[in-house]
Amino acid sequence: MNLLTDSILVLLILASFLLLSSSRLSNCIKTVALQGMMVGVLPLAANDSLTCRVTAIALVIAGMKGIVFPYMLFRTLRESTTIKELKPYVGYTASMFAGVVSLVASFWLDSRLHLPVAASSRLVVPVAFSMMLTGIFLIVGRRTAVNQVIGYLVMENGIYTFGLAIVRDVPLLVELGVLMDMFMAVFVMGIAIYRINREFDHIDSDQLNTLKG
Amino acid sequence: MMDVAHYMGVPLGLCMAPLLLGIINRTKAFFAGRNGSPLFQAYYDIWKLLRKDAVYSRTTTWIFRSAPVVGLGSVMIAMILVPVAGSSLFAFTGDLIFFAYCLGLMRFATVIAALDTGSSFEGMGASREVHFSTLAEPALLLGLAALAKLSGSFSLTGMFGGLSGSDWLASGPAIALIAFAVFVVFLAENARIPVDDPNTHLELTMIHEVMILDYSGPDLGIVLYAAALKLWVLGALIVNILICAADLSGFSGLIVFAGGMFILAVLVGIVESIMARLSLLKVPQLLVGAGAMSVLALILVMRFTS
């Protein structure tokens, strides 16, 4: 099973890099859908004993992250005229570089922290860190609102992976609640972007800076 | 000290004060080679004025009319406190403050009376008066404080009574400084040259004379008399400083004191004859100088006694 887990984890990192380097929003959404799906099935790969409950939750999460969220984002995108990230704060090459740096930093951080890892692979925690950092990087470094939501999703993926790594068993109710909240968050963000687009004719978060001081 | 000076000091001052003016004028006349007015001219003037009718400005009020008597009253009270030949009618700790503030009251009355006329000339005089006296007051009080420190007493009588020839020997320079400072204050407060010229005829340059321009008749007489008394009481301070070396009392003390006053008057006359009036802008410097001398004296005294 270890091989499977590790390969999924590597794919997750590759997805992060893809996100960092692609400018077309639709590509980004597709990538994040893929990443979400993989994160969703990760427990299946990581767990030795597959119970019914774990499988069910994993499938639901994979479905949400891989299908529902991207779908909602696509809907949002369809309404808007923006299809491409123009002039990000940090260029794509530099983003890639930052991704590499964050990956290295994650491994270093992991080696420093000595977390009581519950999962089977040592790779899980650094990958989770790297995804969190990438997510934040996307939020901070991109202009379009959609890309920021994508960043948020990546960060959530990272946190989820992190949770998988260190917490053996989150109570079902909590897990569902969290999921529900995430769903709501993306939903609300989608609506917000939709409205912003309608009101301002753009979804450029950079230009939302009239309120200051 | 139940001697004659104890009781005679005040009457002596009341009687002799105008005479000082006469002496000063005679001295000046002597220096100018004139005959000069009679010694008792001031008495004649006051007497003449007291018998006259009066003219008042329509602008003036009761302030103007009562100021001369307030001034006279306060200078008389001050006179009670000044020792003559080592003793005064009354003395208490801190009476020099009362003395100084009585003169302050007199000034206050004179100044507001001048302002009561609404004349710009009198206003000008009043303005100068308060300016100079502001600077003269610290000089006087500090000088007296130095004396007080020297003698260890804080009443005029105790102060002068406490001084003796040995003090002159011990801290002569300090006492001389004080005497000089008080002399400057004396000249300034009494509107003498070099601060003010009592005989000037140009209103713009006057200080004291211009403030009383509008007085006439009995009021002017009172003003003149009060001014003479002021000359006497402040002069008495200087004389007291200077004659304290001679430890005198009783009748002989009285005589020596009166003699000292006359010599002081002559001195004033000499100063007036040989000096020109200072520019008004220079007067503050003179007074601050006097104050500095007082401070210096005070420091000297404290060094000697500590």
Binding site: K212 | R58, T93, G94, G118, G123, S127, V130, R303, S306
Partner: protein
Amino acid sequence: MNLLLSAFIIFVGGSFLSLGLVKYPRVLRVVGPGSVVIGSVLGIQPVLSSLILGTCDFLQMPWQIPMGSMSIGIDPLSAIFAIAILFVSPLAAVFGAGYLKSFEDTHDLGKSWFFFNLLVASMLLVVLARNALLFLIAWEVMSLASFFLVVFEHERDSVRRAGWIYFIATHIGTAFLLVMFLLLGRHAGSLEFSTFFNCGLSSHLVSVVFVFAVIGFGTKAGFMPFHVWLPEAHPAAPSHVSALMSGVMIKTGIYGLLRTLTFLGCPPAWWGWTIIIIGVVSGICGVLFALAQHDIKRLLAYHSVENIGIIALGLGVGLLGVSHGNAVVAFLGFAGGLLHVVNHAVFKSLLFLGAGSVLHSAGTREIDHLGGLIKKMPLTATAFLIGSAAICGLPPLNGFVSEFFIYVGAFEGMSRDGLSSGAAIGGILAITALALIGGLAVACFTKAFGIVFLGEPRSKHCEHAHESCMSMRIPMVLLSLACVAMGLWGFFAFGVMSNVTSVLTSGLTFDPATCGLITPYQDVLLSVTLFALALIVVIGSLIFLRSWLMSGRIQQSAVTWDCGYLAPNSRMQYTASSFAQPITKFFRTFLQTKRYVSPPEGFFPKTASFSSETDDFYGEQVYKPTFNALESWLSRFRQIQHGQLNLYIMYIIIALVVLFVWKLR
């Protein structure tokens, strides 16, 4: 104590009653001041008895507040301030009843009387409180109430600005007091005043407490570098309020300082020095700035600074006396300072009421626009004259008595030791300063009285001037009488003052009131009283003599001697500015007077003008630049709220990283 409590309750009740009576101005006119008068009359008996008999009374009630307790008490120290409060407040209130009549249509007098009563109540509570929290709350209520009273005419920009400055100054002062009391409370273990004494603070902290008390209380009292609110707030407030604030409220600062000193044990000499230097600076600069003002109420406000300086001189001399173990100096200094507190309360409120009366009838505070008012308002003029003479410290009025105490105390301090001793130099400083202040004060008040009331009217303002109504005149008459009476009471003040000073020195090794060293001064004061009396008698009989002399004489009237000029007019009179010009020029280094001159030019000059303006040195040169610099420096940080979401999120991350680095290394 019960009477005092009921007085307090009447003040508070009166305040709320006035708030409810907004709709009935006629009733309000009676109730607003009425409650102040009734309360004061009720309260004056226990205060007097404590003052004269030296008794102390203490009352503690539970109070549902953390660390607070309703501890109130009266001792002679409280009483001497309470007497000022209870004497001046009702008179100011009665004056206010007349003064505010013309505002009835435009302003909400209910609120005004509400805050007035509240101010009186809180001042009373300040001097009675024996618990730090109670004290601070009363203190803050006092500030709040007086703030609202200051901004009574809030439609004017200058008034609002003044209110702002005042409230800020007093609030920042309070911040220091908070720290001070808490430092004391921390070591005492409670906030009761009774536990504060010698509560085991290190000498380090005692000094901190002292410095904070000087700053905190000095701000309220108007010690020189902290006085900036005074010349703003006093002119802005209605005159009866200025009278109350200047006469009484700022004295609560002195009270607080003294009360704090009673906690701290034997003072080191430098405390006395500090207070003396503050006194010298406040006194001299206060009167100099006063001299340069054109606004009569601003002038009076600066004189409050000056008189606070005189009080500080007295207290400083007293402190030096205590620290050198010299009972006589301690007694004379403290007694002089405290007596001046009461005296200043009387004559300063008199002067403010006089100024209010002028303002009310002539409609301007500009001294240079006034003149000749003595003919139209003889009573106001006489009252103002008495106040002026009193504030100059001239005998036989009350100002002289307290200055006399301080002079003698300073002399005693000076005469004891040589130059090596601090007390000697302190004494010299005090004498010099007092002498200079005395001279300058005469200059200032001859100007204020002379230009406002004497001569010919300088502008149209004075044409419609009229004597004020009865309710405004009575307080002025009473206060004038008090000035004269207290000038003669030096002898009686002695006993009272020894009661008060024994509170101040109660924790020390010696008590001047009982050690017998001071008894000779009782006779001295008797002499002062006698001489003051003699002065009155002599002047009175001289007046009598003069009128006898003048009877039957012809008294002609003419124009003022004009030196040959044929068409004099009232504009040619000396003005306040020109009167003060020689002195202000002499002291221009301190005053920094701004002069705006357009001199006459050409052979036939048509216009020329001159005006001068003396801003507060500290306000303009110290506080304003500092605050402006601070504000512009701080506003640079406002850029962190730039509207960019990305960077906001960055802040979150930075906060996380910093915490990790800081806390989880």
